[in-house]
């Protein structure tokens, strides 16, 4: 019996030790579910790790939570898509530098039979207004993410008052929101990348795209060295620089799902 006990104890110790085998340099990157869910990181990170020898550990959350992680000093680097929020973040001194990295666009998804006739809309504002007018079910992220913030701005510009009987705030990530929308035949706004990579469309289809206001810009931020002296600023800077370098930009352009490019580099 004692032997078994010793064996168990020994294996626990070994197990504990083996949990900490990552000796390589790494940074924590707080980013958004849209980039993670589309598979972008799986495609570009190995390329960066190969040249820089730095592991990028992605914590994919909503943009709101990503800002919060960075504000508390829990992330070394930030890649999000809420330009106004990012600029405020810099102004408030949390970050020292913000750079455009890439963009994609938002698309309006809905049931194939399109009860609100969104297909016929000329502008995004028109499309949103027609959903409100038809009181057609709309599934909103409702999680203070970049997509959620963009969506709320669009409702505002369409001059629509959001009423709970057709406007549903889910408080979920992009993927779960698409799952829910598919289940209840609701309209939903998604970033194109998540939509293209999404596997459970059921009766949903892309109904509206192409308006300039649906432009979705991603930015990379360097966090304040003064405010967060413990962060790995040197490694984070290497990542930031690579992203906007020719190599990084090319890697982003090379990422395709079903032959379709999902993110468009625009770091100038």
């Amino acid at each position: 019996m004692k032997k078994t006990l010793n064996l168990v104890l020994a294996s626990i110790v070994v197990m504990g030790l083996s949990l900490n085998t990552h000796a390589r340099d790494y940074i924590i990157l707080a980013s958004t579910t849209s980039t993670e869910n589309s598979g972008l990181f799986e495609s570009i990170l190995p390329k960066f790790e190969e040249v820089a020898g730095i592991e990028v550990r992605v914590v994919a959350v909503g943009t709101g939570q990503a800002f919060e992680l960075a504000r508390r000093g829990d992330a070394d680097s930030l890649l999000v898509h809420d330009t106004a929020g990012e600029q405020r973040f810099v102004e408030n001194g949390y970050a020292t530098e913000r750079t455009d990295v890439m963009y994609n666009d938002f698309v309006l998804i809905g049931p194939t039979n399109d009860p609100a006739s969104v297909r016929e809309a000329k502008t995004a504002a028109e499309a949103f207004a027609s959903i409100a007018k038809a009181k057609a079910a709309f599934a909103s992220r409702g999680d203070d993410s970049g997509t959620n913030r963009a969506e709320l701005r669009l409702w505002e510009s369409a001059g629509v008052e959001l009423v709970r009987d057709w406007y549903r705030e889910l408080g979920s990530g992009m993927g779960p929101t698409l799952n829910t929308a598919a289940a209840m035949d609701a309209y939903v706004m998604s970033d194109r990348a998540t939509w293209v990579a999404f596997g459970n469309r059921q009766n949903l289809t892309l109904l509206f795209e192409g308006d300039d206001v649906l432009f979705n810009q991603y930015g990379s931020l360097l966090l304040s060295e003064q405010r967060y002296p413990h962060l790995k600023h040197e490694l984070a800077r290497q990542w930031h620089s690579w992203l906007i370098s020719e190599d990084g930009q090319q890697a982003i352009a090379d990422f395709k799902v079903n032959g379709q490019q999902l993110f468009f580099p625009n770091a100038n």
Binding site: A60, G175, N179, A197, N200
Partner: protein, 232 residues
């Protein structure tokens, strides 16, 4: 066929995909580690509450019982605030590591082990008390005897704890961050695949997880039965 979750689960298992193996191994490591630590702390704690009378004992029992229902995401939030750079233990740099996940799961599992072992030990103490006093045993001497004699009941308690640890997602998601290759475990991988709309893959992973948990339970059951037959 490819959309059938059982087919996906089977091909996942048969292909021995390296990233799947990594996820499975990490899941087991984190949960077994957490359950081991919780057992080392929780069993003596439960036995102590069973053995000693002290003011506020009823309160402790109620709290332990109530904490068995602690929502994982609350435990995760607590550990996050603790380990966050802005938190009291931020210096340790444990956030978004498997260590943080172990801590969160210990918090989830500990009340289960303590509360249930308290109950088992107290039942057994009722049966043994007079003999123990007759043998002149102190309370602290009774503790190891009771814990050892309750070993079969405690094995079941251990499995309940392991079930809770391996099934929860809220806490490990929050403090681990679901980082690919570092803190991605079965449950967070299932959430991710669901988010991508890969429902068959998500369900397939779920079946793999269920299979593992069943294997561990079957193993523990057999060990328990064998030694029960041997030592009574």
């Amino acid at each position: 066929m490819e959309n059938n979750a059982f087919y996906v689960a089977l091909s996942l298992l048969l292909s021995l995909d390296s990233s799947l193996i990594q996820i499975v191994v990490l899941s087991l490591q984190v949960s077994l580690m957490a359950v081991s630590i919780a057992a080392v702390l929780g069993f003596p704690l439960g036995a102590a509450v069973a053995l000693w009378q002290f003011p506020g004992r009823g309160g402790v029992i109620v709290i332990l019982n109530a904490l068995m229902g602690l929502p994982p995401v609350v435990a995760g939030l607590m550990v996050y605030l603790l380990l966050s750079r802005a938190g009291p233990l931020g210096e340790w740099g444990l956030l978004f590591t498997p260590g943080a996940m172990v801590i969160a799961q210990v918090i989830l599992v500990l009340p289960i082990l303590a509360a249930l072992s308290r109950q088992k030990v107290e039942e057994m103490l009722g049966e043994y008390r007079e003999q123990f006093v007759s043998l002149g045993m102190s309370r602290s001497r009774m503790m190891p005897t009771l814990l050892w004699d309750a070993r079969f009941a405690l094995l079941t308690v251990l499995l309940a704890g392991f079930g809770r640890a391996s099934a929860e997602v809220g806490a490990v998601m929050m403090v681990g961050g679901n980082i690919d290759g570092v803190t991605r475990v079965m449950t967070t991988a299932i959430v991710l695949e669901t988010g991508k709309g890969n429902l068959p893959l998500a369900l397939g992973l779920g079946i793999v997880l269920l299979t593992l948990v069943m294997l561990i339970n079957a193993g523990a059951y057999m060990i328990g039965e064998l030694s029960r037959r041997r030592t009574g």
